[in-house]
Subunit: 299 residues, 2 copies
């Protein structure tokens, strides 16, 4: 078993009602990796500039993330600067400086191509499709995307969706992609475009999983303190795909468990800035949170 | 066991993307009664004008709702006219004609005062408190309210909240009432005002139950067709309080089951106009939906 993730590695400047952090480790591939590494061997594909702090490389490497696919190029690392509303109901992007990420053209190192599981974080759908074709025999390909590609690259995205098994998007994106208002009808529309499995992420309201005719719904973990929601969706995907890569098979039961592990994982992430919440949690903490979720919904 | 509900009996004109219905049976007390009567004996307290169609009286009576507390007064029945956005994300009140409901001053018939359970639908908190004092030995008093009273009658509402056991409000109301952004902290703030139990209703995102330190979360039933959300909160309360009135005791286990029955009940209500969805469902349908909810969240 092994899990390849392709996506951004970033330095984030984040302002919330709790405080501000400048140029801390972020990016979808990092959030995903640090979540998934609790469950399986993770191989990261990304690109950073020559300003990327060595301590972050060391941090990921020491945690066991395979960085053979992390490219270093002359220039600046992708930098995102965002500010959250005091009630976290919205956020504003103050700066999005792509830097070397603008020329990201992911090439998988040879050993990566044999991996069992692939996750395509939110990048240009053409790049996502290109990565799919580099894999030799993946058991499961997961994929994220966003309104920017749904609106701007519908043809490229349609091609990518025909190549992936699992799509993880939020409810607004599902409605936008399908042209439906109702999330259940939206899900059916999205699945007709290719993915066998769909996770609709609803933030503090939890997630819906669609697998064939099966529907699974799980609320988010109720938290009385949210510090930084950045990366919640990526850590959700990391927990879910990490569990699925380690699972004997991909079926409704393991997918449902995967959503629960994703939910548990994301709940640690949003409780601290950057990756701090995940990095201070152990696999035992994840398992305990997973059981707390089971208790949360039991009647 | 028996359950008294005090609240509005109305004629609703409802416009949705599916169609329009004029002056159909509505009002919180009716929605609540038709939901709760699947579980227990319901006694209604309300007021209607001399324009109230006899067929609606017959309909409620034939279903077993005790109407000894339904007052008839000269004048018009409460009429609400609303229009829902095509995606049901919002609604606009086009007319709210209180009619005889403006002078509603609920007096419980003697046999009602012995009831085990009381539900105070959304009316002036002073009237709610007055009804509480008419009960001889209620086991459980549930209560609803809205932003209008939270903003306009905070002192009267505080007094009412000190007299009730269970409050059912939506997340915006919980935040408004407590002055907190975070729903968990909001819930704690609301419970400090009196209610031992709190249900935070989140529409299509389900409901949260707080009982002491226990938190229960249940998603709504995923529906691919919503016709008319009017009365969803009242039918939720009806299913929940109906179950609790019939239950041996009010504790975390029966409260959790109550939320599931409330969720099941509301899902039938929103699938048709007025009370049609509830009236065409049987207790067996409710039990089947309850089991479907258990399956929906199982992992």
């Amino acid at each position: 078993m092994s899990l390849v993730v392709v996506g951004s590695v970033a330095l984030d400047t984040v302002e919330t009602v709790v405080g501000t952090r400048e140029r801390v480790l972020g990016g979808a591939a990092c959030f995903f990796s640090v979540a998934a590494m609790q469950f399986t061997q993770v191989k990261l594909v990304g690109i950073v500039g020559d300003d990327f702090p060595e301590e972050y490389v060391t941090l990921l490497a020491e945690r066991g993330v395979d960085l053979a696919g992390l490219d270093r190029a002359p220039g600046q690392t992708f930098h995102w600067h965002g500010r959250y509303a005091d009630d976290y109901s919205s956020r504003e992007s103050l700066a999005t400086e792509l830097g070397v990420f603008a020329d990201f053209s992911p090439e998988l190192p040879a050993p990566y191509r044999e991996a069992q599981t692939l996750f395509l974080a939110n990048i240009h759908p053409e790049l996502q499709a290109n990565v799919c074709q580099q894999m030799t025999h993946p058991r499961l390909i997961g994929c994220d995307t966003m309104d920017f590609w749904i609106n701007g690259e519908p043809k490229a995205l349609a091609r990518t969706l025909s190549m992936v098994d699992l799509l993880t998007i939020n409810d607004e994106e599902a409605c936008l992609l399908s042209g439906e208002h109702n999330v259940i009808r939206a899900a059916r529309g999205v699945m007709r475009m290719g993915p066998k499995y769909l996770v609709v992420k609803r933030g503090e309201h939890g997630a819906l999983l669609f697998a064939g005719d099966d529907i699974f719904a799980l609320p988010a973990m109720p938290l009385d303190r949210v510090v930084d929601p950045t990366g919640a969706g990526d850590t959700f995907a990391g927990g879910m795909l990490g569990h699925l890569d380690a699972a004997e098979s991909v079926d409704v039961a393991s997918l449902r468990r995967g959503v629960a592990y994703g939910t548990a994982t994301a709940s640690f992430n949003v409780a601290e800035f950057s990756l701090d919440g995940l990095l201070s949690a152990s696999r035992a903490d994840f398992d305990e949170r997973y059981e707390a979720l089971r208790q949360l919904v039991s009647f």
